[in-house]
Amino acid sequence: MLIDFFFKLKTHKLPVSIKEFLTLLEALQKGVIGSSVDDFYYLSRTTLVKDEANFDKFDRAFAEFWEGVEAIPGIEAEIPLEWLLKQAELTLTDEEKKLIESLGGWEKLMETLKKRLEEQKERHQGGNKWIGTGGTSPFGAYGFNPEGIRIGQKTSRNRSAVKVWDQREYQNLDDSVELGTRNIKVALRRLRKFARQGAPEEFDLENTINSTAKKAYLDIHMRPERRNTVKVLLLLDIGGSMDDHVKLCQEMFSAAKTEFKHLEHFYFHNCLYDFVWKDNRRRHSERTRTWDLLHKYGHDYKVIFVGDATMSPYEILQPGGSIEYFNEEAGAVWVKRMTDVYQKCVWLNPEPEEIWGYRQSVQVMKELMGGRMFPTTIGGLEKAMKVLAK
């Protein structure tokens, strides 16, 4: 039974390990909890889930698992701990076996249960409630099992009306539902890794003194600089179709800021033209000429464009193509200038890669970037950082 629980969590994509599962067994054996189901829920959560972002996922998995347990005859208001443990050892008493046999066998029971639950899930799609809650389920604690035997009714009535895990209190912490926030975390980790690569060494005064004292001769120590010297120039598309993504990207890089010694950012709209700006509210009054950018920031800077590159191809390829003002030179010319000066240059595109092919402007931009356009997915960022670090 507990093994089922473990696999249930796995199928819900919770990152649980055997080690943690064994800890749970140990905790049960050492009597950390009594026999209340709530306790079992709390204990398994504190043991198996190490990120509050996964609590909601866990709640759903637990609900599904518990539906299954509840549907087994003989399970009363309290969770029979010994029984659970016995299940973990995969042994059943004859009495228990007989009971299950009379219901057409364990396999069949679970099978039918599962099928019913699945069927119901399909019907419930679109709603945010899952199987068998709120008494809507024709099966499970409040209804009938396929054998036509009324089960678990007492169980449900005895317990508090709302189960802890049914309250889904951690729903708003599940960041995987929000587009991209999950990626921010991952991106940060990647960026951090990137920031540490090839960090030059600095003189380690403390260690040198210590070691010199120890050895009684001058023993110089160096260490990788804590913050590295990678210089990054970040160019962010802002406004229009990027509205959805811009906050996300900004957050991602502002968080990364502490990791870089030199991180400069500028905004552009749709495509790079002859000027950029730093503060979007003052975009019309405080502009920086792109030429100045090219002169000011040495060619050892690594350039990251962030944008969806979604516009009319005309905006990239024609002089005067900008939707904001009359640009003397085409956006493509400016992008080309950047890639010429900065060897290490990538474009991150928050739109899903599958749709790039359908947008001509994306294709054009990708070509201008020499193919170095990457999605803001784990893999995409990984690749982008590799290109930059090379």
Binding site: K30, Y42, T47, K50, R189, R192, N210, K214
Partner: protein
Amino acid sequence: MRFSGSEEYVSTEDLTLAVNAAITLERPLLIKGEPGTGKTMLAVQVAKALGLPLLEWHIKSTTKAQQGLYEYDAVSRLRDSQLGDPRVQDIHNYIVKGMLWQAFSRDTPCVLLIDEVDKADIEFPNDLLRELDRMEFYVYETRELVKARQRPIVFITSNNEKELPDAFLRRCFFHYIRFPEKETMEKIVDVHYPKLKKNLLREALEVFFEIREVPGLKKKPSTSELLDWLKLLLSEDIPPEALRSKDRKTIIPPLHGALLKNEQDVHLFERLVFMTRAKNN
């Protein structure tokens, strides 16, 4: 040994259980949660409730794992040798014990708090895996193995500034302290100000939770701010009526500076109130 809450600390059912799991299985408990939700306080209170000594190790961005074990003060030794100090003969005189060592060398159990692990370098937790798992480490200078006589009860807090490595997480129990809802908050306030008048508390909590709802705040007021604010309200003898209004959104609550500590947030809040007021007139 079992923790069952304390007079001075409101512990929810799930938190109590997590603490007891950590005590029983002698494994660290990692605590996360918004600022001011009582993460640090928990270790203090558990120690107090169980009558155990508390060792606190506060982590900074420059803290190294090694400092928790021991530091060898070679520089002092060199100086002493030049001054001809006899202490120099014994290297033990220059080994400074860190918090972990101090905790490991106790004959009776104690509580060890590692506060704000996420402040340190990302490698920090990895450097402590074996020490927290086996509760032992090796002192190279003196060639001795330090092994915990009694595994301490370890609490580790994090504000989520950095991700913690999986290997580290697998070794801990984990609890996320949710921001307390009204009912729990009332209990917490009661612990600190048992004599507070019921209607003042009710009004104050209304205001407090409403301010927390203001969109765009850089820092939402937390439990500590609420407690500070209540203290001020009490000392200034502010009556509950001063906090009430038909449309609360149109008054600026007294002493609101105690709740909003960030200047930008104060401006934002005041602007919102004035705007609502202007709209209503």
